[in-house]
């Protein structure tokens, strides 16, 4: 089963003729993902190594039966691609693009409320169900099929932890990179809810970082609604307050959003929190039912 993406996932890539879009669309296809269409306005009729290109997502859906949007277009145009995918009623929209103004994302979030589309991202590495489907930029070769569900705010830190798991022979059901932006689509809670319902997932790893209160709210949700074991990791214990650490999500303001507070909230909810990525893998190994 896995969550969000599997063998039935049919991907339409917005921005497929760009450098990044082309590279990753083909990489996803080589992994075994059904990449059925691309969209670049004005380039309908062309193809990218056999993937047909359309002017609009609606055309792509009508012709190819795509059910998942993967977005690589530049930040200034990325929200339009999200709206377009939502208006075509695609159940899943994965936006890799980074640098979208937060106010634009607030409008997107508001528009998507009550709509059937689930958004992952923006500013995220995407989602992979190892051995089945890879939609985004997570390197497929570091993953292995298995029973650990993983959800993360970070990109490369996710790779680090997945790598440590795989090296110990622990595979993953699905890895979800929710992205580091302050306003984003799917969050810890939605992913935890899906993993809780997924019979193939036996344990969930959640990787958080400083800033915001996503982890604290997830802790409450875990306490009340999650029966599967959860292992956590929080990055940014040594980040000084008020300094922006790279991406928009990673900033502590005032006394809230510290790594310490997040780790404590998770531990109170029964989550085992590792101090290093290696310890996370050790905890998973010990706790996986």
């Amino acid at each position: 089963m896995a969550i969000l993406v599997d063998e039935r996932t049919r991907v339409v890539v917005s921005g497929i003729t760009g450098r990044e879009g082309r590279f990753h669309a083909l990489r996803n296809r080589a992994y075994g993902t059904q990449v059925v269409a691309g969209v670049t306005p004005g380039k309908a009729g062309q193809d990218v190594e056999g993937v047909p290109v359309f002017d609009t997502i609606a055309d792509a859906v009508a012709e190819t039966g795509a059910n998942t949007s993967l977005i690589f277009v530049p930040a200034r145009f990325a929200t339009e691609a999200i709206y377009e995918a939502a208006d075509s009623e695609l159940p899943l929209v994965v936006c890799i693009t980074e640098g979208i103004p937060v106010r634009d994302m607030a409008r997107v979030a508001s528009y998507l409320r009550g709509k059937p589309s689930t958004l992952i991202g923006p500013n995220c590495p995407g989602v992979i169900s190892p051995g089945r489907s890879n939609v985004g930029i997570i390197p497929g070769e570091i993953c292995a099929p298995g029973r650990v569900g993983l959800v993360s705010r970070s990109g490369t830190l996710t790779y680090q932890i997945v790598h440590e798991l795989t090296q110990r022979g622990i595979g993953q059901s699905t890895c979800v990179g929710m992205g580091g932006d302050p306003v984003h689509g799917i969050g810890f809670i939605e992913a935890l809810e899906l993993f809780e319902q997924d019979p193939e997932t036996g344990l969930v790893v959640m990787i958080g970082e400083i800033g915001g209160d996503d982890e604290e709210r997830a802790a409450t949700f875990i306490r009340d609604h999650v029966s599967k074991p959860v292992v956590g990791y929080i990055a940014g214990f040594t980040a000084p307050p008020g300094k922006r650490m790279g991406h928009a999500g990673a900033i502590i303001t005032g006394s809230s959003g510290t790594a310490q507070a997040k780790a404590e909230a998770l531990e109170t909810a029964g989550v085992k929190v590792g101090r290093t990525p290696t310890e996370v893998a050790e905890l998973v190994e010990a706790s996986l039912p």
């Binding site: 103004p101 528009y111 915001g212 990055a235 300094k243 790279g246 990673a250």
Partner: protein, 396 residues
Amino acid sequence: MDLFEHQGKELFARHGIPIPRGIVCESAEAARAATETLGGMSVVKVQVQVGGRGKGGGVVLADSPEEAEAAASAMLAGGFKGLRVTRVLVEERLSIAREFYAAMLLDRSTGTDLAMVAIEGGVDIEQLARTRPETIRRLHVDPEIGLHPYHLRRLTGSFPPEARDLVEDVLAGLYDVLTGEDATLVEVNPLVLLSDGRVLALDAKVTIDDNALWRRREIEMLKSSFPIDPVEFRAREAGLQYVKLDGEVGIIGNGAGLVMSTLDLVQQAGAAAANFLDIGGGASAESMATSLEVILSDPSVRAVLVNIFGGITRCDVVAEGMLEALGRVTPEVPIVVRLDGTNAEEGRRILERANHPRIVSAPTMLEAAQRAAELATGRAASWPRREGQRSGDSGR
């Protein structure tokens, strides 16, 4: 991007929010002259991108031009909380009847705008929220409908009747700044009612969304007014995400989460990071070379730790970039390198072949952090070891 107070106030004024008369001064003499212009008395306010100015001596009431000159001189020479100070704001003295608090921000947990007001101002709002929560009113404003008069009436309901209309005007102006200038936070503490009945923004804290600066060119140009560390400047020019910190291990990594995690590991190993540096996704050899040069130019760095997990970033490109930098500068400190992910084998081979005396390879992130901490502090890392864990790194 956090604006200086005076820059925030200039934005306020453009959106119809009343502010005190004030003059930006870059010298003590200018502060003296400004105080004369303002009638012989003034408030001298240090312009920095951090809070806590009131308690920290960053706001001085000057009863004469000489006092203003002395205050400005001390601020400009001495800095504030370790930051260099290049300008002060000299403002008119006002007769204040009441102080309030007002703020609007984009609330990341709901994705909507949040307005907050309090009938007690001039204090730490987080403390107020703990001790007297009843004095604060909060209201979410959905971006789909925007700010309406009923929102304003609800926010100002507990304000003194004579101030209500004017406070509502200020709040409407703040919402304009928030939404019209791509701000993520606008805060006025205090918002004041004067003895003559006027309502003024006595302070301004404005944060602009970095991702939106491309469509706020005028605000983007303000960047050049912020004094920054020369190393930081160089990194920024090269498009790197760099933050200077206090420790001795220079850190280069790809991805904010991984770099933060690396900082944490270095500290757990008994050392401290000298910086945060994220080379970003898909980094070129050139950006890696610049990163290494930037880190090596920091005199507080005793050892460098390069931690790369290649996704879009290719480890062979990273290795080539490192060698490129080492062809230009001669490092006096060891460089611990950990490469994993895309083309890691090739990357390691490139470094092995180069056989550079300063490069120390480490097989895992954990061991790399430990080795770098040891090399930087000259003592064995006090790694909290668990039973059965593989012991130290031998380099390779």
